[in-house]
């Protein structure tokens, strides 16, 4: 607790960088509720502290009775679900994610589909078309496309839902042993209920949130892997209450177990649980350490028993799933606006034409005796009818197949992502997976990436890479003789029966040195590694399995093991190791555990020969302060530490100290005294530790590589070139995060790194400045001046504590709480105070922070909670209006994955939480580069092209009616045959553009990756926006003009070749329709930049289908069968044998296309885009790409000095090791081990 207290006492210095801020997941309501009875908190309460654990049962609403299923169905636990149907508030353990079943599919799905405005619109249109007074088009022109659209969507929904059904079934049918009728029986997960006693075996998934009762392990421990919850693969332990562990080992004992658990209602907080167990008239407190959460996996524990507390939807992991936000792309939103715009235009045009009809009828129509229709309507009413008639005629302006086509394209894009071999991770057999099919084009517009560190950027594997012993550096590839090698050959550890085969080391000279046993220091080095740690060992089928709290420690102990110093066993106060050829047992006198403040750990050992020695390993900064002046190798070690740090290796200094018996005795007494101190024990202990850890003698330094995933730096560099900003949000410590920042090239030495204090100060100044300037209303927001006026790159490294401080997240609630308690308002702060006066200032400060962060090249937020991760993402979304992407692998990333516009999960690991809530999932971070720069870019370009063309083709198609209106008395006469209108969007013009939407590539994937700049137009949304929409609109208007007026001119005064029927309406319809079909198909050909045989086929097919269907519809046979529906008999053959009409068609097509080609050429010549340039030189670049390979590795420039000490995660199991029994006494030892372990959970 020391650091916490220090932070308290020096509160003005700001929050402590080491502490993970307390999770903020409670809502205001929760806070209100809990605040009533709570003792008043000290006002300066820091975010790091926990509220007192309240175990009173009175306000805990959840009670569970063991072995009594009926209890939970009692009326007082019933809750009204619907009218009079009541249901127990305790969920069953089955989960249900599917939406439809066989009965509800059709009505529900139709209901969902008609919630879409477009579908509803077409339904309304269909109804209009049935009304005889206004029907201008037969009903089938709308019904056929609508049914097609609905069917395609329904089929897709059905497929999705079937997949969900399968998934649910798989999970619900998993089996676990449940105690029923006095014995354990295999039961499906879905049949489990609250209050059941279950037996879990090794490697089982925990089926629900379970109170642990007993375990087959000593110390009532049970190890769990929480990968599915937080993505971490190192083990955590849970333990049963002593009383239950002792008394509930046997089946019959468990069967008679009758206890009542009262605890909090189900909630989503993975880090909190309070409750009490009433058993045989005693009451026992229960907390999170006794709870096995659903989704964990039992490890290293043969059998354990537990009591189901929360089942199914009540479990914490399910609660954490949160609501799946319906994500929509910017294009979607834009598209909707455009549909509304078109709709408005449609109404305007129809209104105009209706007015036109009114006037026309008054002045011309009413005089024409031949038009007499037997009705006595006035021109106003006729205009009104005409309005609806035109709404029907012009309805094709709103493209009915737009949405379904977009869905098809997205589905195809998703499939391409799934199929991409270059995003397939062979090692884990994991292909990339697009889990949603609605967001693809958004991948081409990403501006900000928020990434988790552990497991995302890194592999979460620590590897012992190098060391410096006695001033000599080992680790570079070398032969046994010390001759450097270019390419290393791994050392063969065959001589060592205990060697871990996965361990690789390149330097043969080190092994030679050890085996010769000449160099004492080298031996001491590895002896230290094998003795000074908190790793636990397990003998499994003759194999040694190490369980380390932090992967760094594991790596070091494994390295020692391979080099012949094998950690074999430990008891509470001894450690047994094998030193090359003999075993030796050391007595552990004291274990001075690591904590983030000390940055070192020591062990004091009594050697078999009676000597007492202290071994210490720790961060170079703290070790060097404590070295004896006589210590050798200080200089050389320092140099190699620098080198290691620059190679972004994580270093530790190793040293020792011999202690005399007297000295030990004296210190031991102080230690004992400190360790039983009732107040500030941690601080007291730290102080005592300090007294012995001095005058150390240097042995050497170790260097561990926190292995980045392959290709991460390259991917980050390339994404940065595409103007994508990458923020790292991690629960890790500042040093670790910074270190990784350097190793993945996010941070570079020429960057100025700003930390929390600096940021806070700048923000405070900015805020004070704003406060001093009198608020002027209505003034334009002038562009904010930059926060970093100095030239050069900046980076931000900020901790969760500082984020809270800066953004006032936690403080708001606490302040409000305090205010209510004190019953008064705080005085307005002075202008220079950093405290915000009101919500506006708070918001402005957030804006400032986001602005500042966006000025930086790189931002790293460390020690942040999942909630904060999500908050940071939403801040950027909110204030920058930017498209964001989050990528992560653990449950701690779920929140941010759901918040961001696009969530990406790293799959292939055990954890599934992130993947389950993600939109895209793949196995390696580096695939992100391909996902964005290739698939995202392509998807965006394709979708934009598709939409532009789609709007164009519908305008060109529909507005011909508009021009025709001026020549037919605004009578809503269509310019084409009805069947042509019906089939135009479905058959004649959709395939080529669909293919462009699916397959078009302006440049291939290699060039997309080579020129990340090509990505930028997507970020700016340059390819599809209102401007482009209006260009499409005008293009459509232009083409429709040509398509109407050229045939108009040709038909105005002519005769056929044989003199007969020269200018009839049906021939006119055929000529306009043919011109239109040829024009739009050639237009899409112009826009196709990637011509495969499929495209070619589709274009030719569309035209062929058009002519084929037209000749069929115009054939004699079909007229004979349906004379009333097919009235164009013989038109096609009559019209299209006239060369004159063909010349008209050719001219129409020519005038429609030539200006477009000309303009495209001129604009590409005068204002070439990056894409144009790349395309122009495509051939050349492709040739180059063939020749050159990527630079194999990249070199980091050296220079600065950084400390990258290794202890990546947390305190070790020291408490557990040294005081196994103390675990049971934990309720009295508040804080202590529990906190330390929790710290280690590395949210």
């Amino acid at each position: 607790m020391s650091q916490r207290q220090r932070a308290d006492s020096t509160g003005s210095l700001g929050p402590d960088d080491e502490v993970m801020p307390y999770s903020d997941d409670e809502t205001d309501d929760e806070l209100d509720a809990s605040s009533e009875g709570e003792p008043e908190e000290p006002p300066e309460h820091q975010p790091g502290a926990q509220p007192p654990v309240d175990t009173r049962a009175s306000d805990l609403g959840w009670s569970v009775k063991s072995n009594d299923r009926a209890y939970h169905q009692l009326p007082e636990f019933q809750r009204k679900v619907f009218l009079f149907i009541k249901k127990s508030k305790y969920s069953g353990n089955g989960i249900k994610t599917y939406k439809y079943n066989a009965l509800t599919f059709i009505p529900l799905n139709l209901f969902e589909q008609f919630k879409r405005v477009a579908n509803l619109y077409f339904l309304g249109l269909l109804i209009l078309q049935i009304i005889p007074a206004i029907t201008t088009l037969p009903w089938y022109t709308t019904l056929v496309p609508l049914v097609l659209v609905l069917t395609i969507t329904a089929v897709k929904d059905l497929a999705d839902d079937l997949a969900r059904h399968r998934m649910d079934k798989e999970i619900n049918n998993r089996k676990t042993e449940v105690l029923l009728d006095g014995g354990f029986q295999e039961t499906k997960w879905m049949d489990m209920q609250v209050g059941d006693v279950v037996r879990l075996k090794k490697n089982d998934f925990v089926p629900a949130d379970i109170l642990m009762l007993s375990s087959s392990n000593p110390n009532s421990l049970c190890y769990v892997e929480t990968a599915e919850l937080d993505g971490e693969t190192n083990l955590k332990f849970k333990f049963a209450l002593k009383i239950t562990d002792e008394k509930l080992q046997q089946e019959h004992q468990l069967a008679q177990f009758e206890a009542m658990i009262d605890c909090e209602e189900p909630n989503n907080r993975l880090d909190k649980f309070t409750g009490t167990m009433q058993w045989s008239r005693h009451s026992y407190p229960v907390d999170l350490d006794n709870i096995l959460l659903r989704g964990c996996k039992i490890r290293n524990t043969d059998v354990c028993h537990g009591l189901v507390i929360f089942a199914g939807a009540d479990t914490k992991i399910m609660r954490n799933g949160g609501k799946t936000r319906f994500k929509r792309t910017t294009i979607d939103i834009l598209m909707n606006y455009m549909v509304y715009a078109i709709f408005a235009l449609l109404i305007l045009v129809a209104l105009g034409l209706a007015i036109g009809h009114g006037f026309w009828y008054k002045h011309i129509g009413s005089l024409a005796w031949y038009l007499y229709d037997g009705k006595t309507y006035g021109s106003l009413y006729r205009g009104f009818l005409s309005f609806w008639g035109y709404i029907i005629v012009l309805n094709t302006m709103v493209p009915i197949s737009l949405y379904v086509s977009v869905e098809i394209i997205r589905l195809g894009q998703s499939k391409f992502i799934n199929w991409d071999l270059q995003m397939y991770y062979a090692e884990k057999d994991t292909p990339a997976k697009a889990r949603t099919t609605t967001l693809n084009e958004q991948l081409g517009q990403i501006e900000y990436i928020f990434t988790d560190k552990t497991g995302t950027l890194t592999q979460n594997i620590m590897a012992f890479k190098k060391c410096n012993i006695g001033g000599k550096t080992y680790g570079n590839p070398m032969t046994a003789k010390g001759v450097p090698l270019d390419r290393g050959k791994p050392v063969d550890f065959g001589w060592n029966p205990y060697a871990d085969p996965k361990f690789e080391f390149m330097d043969h000279s080190l092994v030679a040195c050890i085996r010769s046993q000449q160099d004492q220091e080298t031996l001491e080095f590895f002896k230290l590694l094998s003795l000074c740690h908190t790793v636990m060992v397990e003998h499994k089928e003759g194999e040694l399995v190490y369980q380390a709290a932090s992967p760094d420690e594991g790596a070091l102990v494994t390295a020692a093991r391979n080099f012949g110093f094998v950690f074999l066993n430990r008891t509470q106060d001894t450690i047994t190791i094998k030193e090359l050829d003999h075993e030796a047992t050391y007595q552990v006198l004291a274990l001075l555990d690591f904590n983030s403040d000390r940055k070192r750990m020591s062990v004091i050992l009594k050697f078999p020969d009676g000597r007492i020695r202290l071994y210490c390993k720790g961060a170079d900064t703290v070790i060097y302060e404590r070295l004896s002046p006589h210590s050798l190798h200080q200089e050389t070690t320092q140099t190699s530490l620098d080198i290691f740090a620059n190679e972004t290796l994580r270093t530790l200094c190793l040293c020792y100290k011999d202690i005399s018996q007297a000295e030990w005795d004296a210190w031991s007494r102080k230690h004992t005294a400190a360790s039983i101190a009732t107040r500030d024990r941690d601080a007291a202990l730290d102080q005592v530790y300090e007294q012995i850890e001095n005058d150390l003698l240097m042995i050497g330094a170790s260097a561990i590589e926190d292995k980045l995933q392959d290709g991460v730096p390259e991917a980050i560099a390339n994404l940065a070139k595409a103007d994508i900003k990458i923020w790292v949000l991690t629960g890790d410590k500042k040093e670790t995060a910074e270190n990784i920042g350097f190793s993945c090239q996010l941070l570079t030495d020429n960057m100025k790194i700003h930390y929390g204090e600096d940021v806070n100060e700048k923000l405070r100044v900015r805020q004070a400045l704003r406060r001093n300037v009198a608020p002027t209303f209505g003034n334009k927001k002038k562009p904010a001046e930059p926060f970093f006026p100095e030239a050069g790159k900046n980076a931000l490294v900020i901790t969760g504590g500082w984020l809270n401080e800066i953004l006032y997240e936690k403080k708001k609630k606490r302040r409000r709480l305090r205010l209510r308690r004190l019953g008064r308002r705080t005085l307005p702060a002075s202008p220079t105070d950093g405290q915000p006066i009101n919500d506006f200032e708070k918001e402005m400060r957030q804006v400032d922070f986001v602005d500042m962060a966006c000025e930086c090249e790189a931002v790293i937020c460390c020690r942040v909670t999942p909630k904060q991760k999500a908050n940071v993402v939403s801040l950027v979304k909110k204030y920058k209006k930017a498209v964001t992407l989050s990528i992560g692998d653990g449950a701690n990333d779920v929140n941010m994955i759901k918040t961001a516009d696009i969530g990406v999960g790293i799959s292939g690991q055990e954890g599934m939480q992130a993947v389950m809530s993600s939109d895209y999932a793949f196995a390696q971070f580096r695939y992100l580069e391909r996902l964005l720069l290739v698939h995202g870019r392509w998807s965006y370009i394709r979708m934009c092209k598709f939409l532009r063309y789609f709007f164009f083709k519908n305008f060109a198609f529909t507005l011909v009616h508009f021009w025709f209106s001026f020549f037919n008395g605004f009578s809503a006469q269509v310019a084409y045959e009805d069947w042509f209108i019906t089939l135009y969007n479905v058959c004649y013009s959709s395939f080529p553009v669909l293919l462009v939407g699916l397959m078009d590539q302006d440049v291939n994937d290699k060039l997309s990756l080579k020129f990340p700049k090509l990505y930028i137009p997507g970020q700016k949304g340059e390819l599809f926006n209102f401007k482009k929409f209006f260009i499409s609109l005008f293009h459509g208007i232009f083409v429709s003009l040509i398509i109407f007026f050229i045939p108009y001119g040709a038909f105005l005064q002519t005769m056929g070749q044989d003199g007969e029927a020269p200018s009839d309406y049906q021939s006119f319809a055929v000529v306009t329709a043919s011109s239109l079909i040829i024009t739009v198909n050639l237009q899409i050909s112009l826009e196709t930049s990637y011509w495969t045989f499929v495209n070619c086929f589709a274009v030719l097919c569309s035209m062929a289908i058009y002519f084929g269907i037209m000749f069929d519809i115009h054939s004699a046979g079909i007229h004979v069968i349906f004379p009333a529906y097919f009235t164009f008999t013989g038109t096609a053959s009559n019209a299209l044998r006239q060369p004159y009409l063909w010349l008209t068609i050719i001219l129409t097509v020519g005038i429609s296309l030539l200006p477009v080609i000309c303009l495209q050429f001129l604009s590409a010549t005068i204002w070439p885009s990056v894409g144009d340039k790349v395309q122009r030189n495509r051939k050349k670049y492709e040739m180059e790409a063939e020749e050159e390979k990527r630079p194999p590795t990249f070199q980091r420039g050296g220079g600065s000095r950084r400390s990258g000490y290794a202890f990546s995660h947390s305190r070790g199991y020291a408490d557990l090791i040294s005081s196994g029994r103390s675990i049971r006494r934990r309720p009295t030892v508040a804080g202590g081990a529990r906190n330390s372990i929790r710290e280690g959970e590395n949210i």
Binding site: P132, T136, I364, W369, L371, D373, G374, K375, F416, W419, Q422, A426, D429, F967, N968, G969, S971, Q973, Q1001, G1049, A1050, F1051, L1052, Q1053, T1054, M1055, G1056, Q1057, G1059, E1060, A1061, P1062, S1063, D1064, Y1065, F1068, A1069, Y1090, W1091, T1092, F1093, A1116, P1123, A1124, T1127, T1129, G1130, S1133, N1134, Y1140, L1147, G1150, I1151, L1154, L1162, T1165, I1166, P1168, K1173, Q1175
Partner: protein, 344 residues
């Protein structure tokens, strides 16, 4: 574990799934666009010249006989109250009007493309199917297609029903060459002036023989002087729904100003054309157009490979062709000025 199991999820490595389909990536490069425009321009100019010249060589004679002008001989017929009004219009040709010559009648400001008008017919009836006329439900429901000319005041079905049929053009024309101040009739051939498909497929007479019986219990369209089965008293085969003039009328025009084929001049010495001389056109003026400000005309025309006279297409071809050539020069200049630097 076998290797196959290890790669169970491996995507297929095909050109399609990997988006590597062999493809042609054309670009609008200067090397294609500029010569393309020149070629298209030249071709368009060629077509334009051909169309223009052909069109110029077609002879057309248009005679407006609406009778608006008081000095027109048809002025007297303008008033609809005058029944069976005839008027004669004289014209002369100073050179041969090359045959075959077609005679058209033309109407302007006449909206045959009006939607409700165009829909006002019964396609089934016109295929010769009169069976449902006897059905009492016929015309009971609100009029769907033939409104308002479905039944007459006595509730008898009108055959052929509908506005189009009712408003059939009924002016008649006779052409005489004035040879030595005597009128020599120029034979006008009314056979095969309608589309073959209309005559043979789309419109059929009821199979009843004689045709008249099929029309029992029906009435003629209100506007018609004679029932459908007596449309052409000279030729019994040219009656009913397959009367050529009726078919021509039923094929409604695209635009409000239109001409429809009336007769061909294909017989005797006039097959080669109308020789130079004076002619008299005798018009049976029946069709009222003045009240809606319409115009009626008779057109004599011969045709070429491209049909009748129409300068529009030729001129547009010429204009577009020239523009193409001009634009290709502009593009060339622009290209020379803004040529991409080869290196980026």
């Amino acid at each position: 574990m076998s290797k196959e199991e290890n790669t169970a999820n491996r995507p297929d490595n095909t050109a399609f799934t990997q988006q590597r389909l062999p493809a042609w990536q054309p670009m609008l490069s200067a090397g294609i666009v500029i010569p393309g425009f020149v070629i298209i321009g030249v071709a368009f100019i060629g077509i334009g010249v051909a169309l223009f010249v052909t069109s110029q060589n077609i002879q057309v004679l248009e005679i407006d006989y609406t009778g608006i002008e008081t000095n027109s001989s048809c002025f007297k017929c303008k008033n609809t109250s005058v029944k069976n009004c005839n008027c004669t219009i004289n014209f002369s040709r100073d050179k041969l009007f090359k045959g075959p010559v077609f005679v058209y009648y033309g109407l302007s400001n006449y909206f045959q493309n009006y939607r409700q008008y165009g829909a006002s017919k019964d396609a089934t009836q016109l295929t010769g199917d009169l069976s449902d006329l006897g059905d009492p439900s016929y015309c009971k429901e609100p009029c769907e297609t033939c409104c308002p000319y479905r039944k007459d005041a006595n509730d008898k079905p009108i055959v052929p029903c509908g506005s189009i049929a009712n408003s059939m053009f009924n002016d008649t024309f006779k052409l005489f060459q004035i040879v030595n101040s005597s009128n020599v009739a120029v034979p006008l051939d009314g056979k095969g002036i309608a589309w073959w498909t209309d005559y043979n497929i789309k419109y059929r007479n009821p199979p009843t023989n004689p045709l008249k019986n099929a029309f029992n219990d029906t009435v003629k369209p209100i506007f018609w002087p004679r029932p459908a089965y007596e449309l052409d008293p000279t030729n019994p085969a040219n009656n009913g729904f397959i009367n050529q003039d009726f078919l021509v009328w039923m094929r409604r025009s695209a635009l409000p100003n239109f001409t429809k084929l009336y007769r061909r001049i294909t017989e005797g010495e006039y097959a080669k054309g109308l020789p130079a001389g004076d002619y008299a056109l005798v018009i049976g003026y029946n069709y009222p157009v003045v009240e809606f400000d319409g115009r009626k005309k008779v057109v004599f025309s011969n045709v070429s490979w491209m049909g009748g006279k129409n300068l529009f297409l030729g001129i547009v071809y010429l204009v577009i062709g020239s523009l193409c050539v001009v634009m290709s020069i502009v593009m060339l200049i622009v290209y020379a000025k803004f040529k991409f630097p080869d290196e980026e």
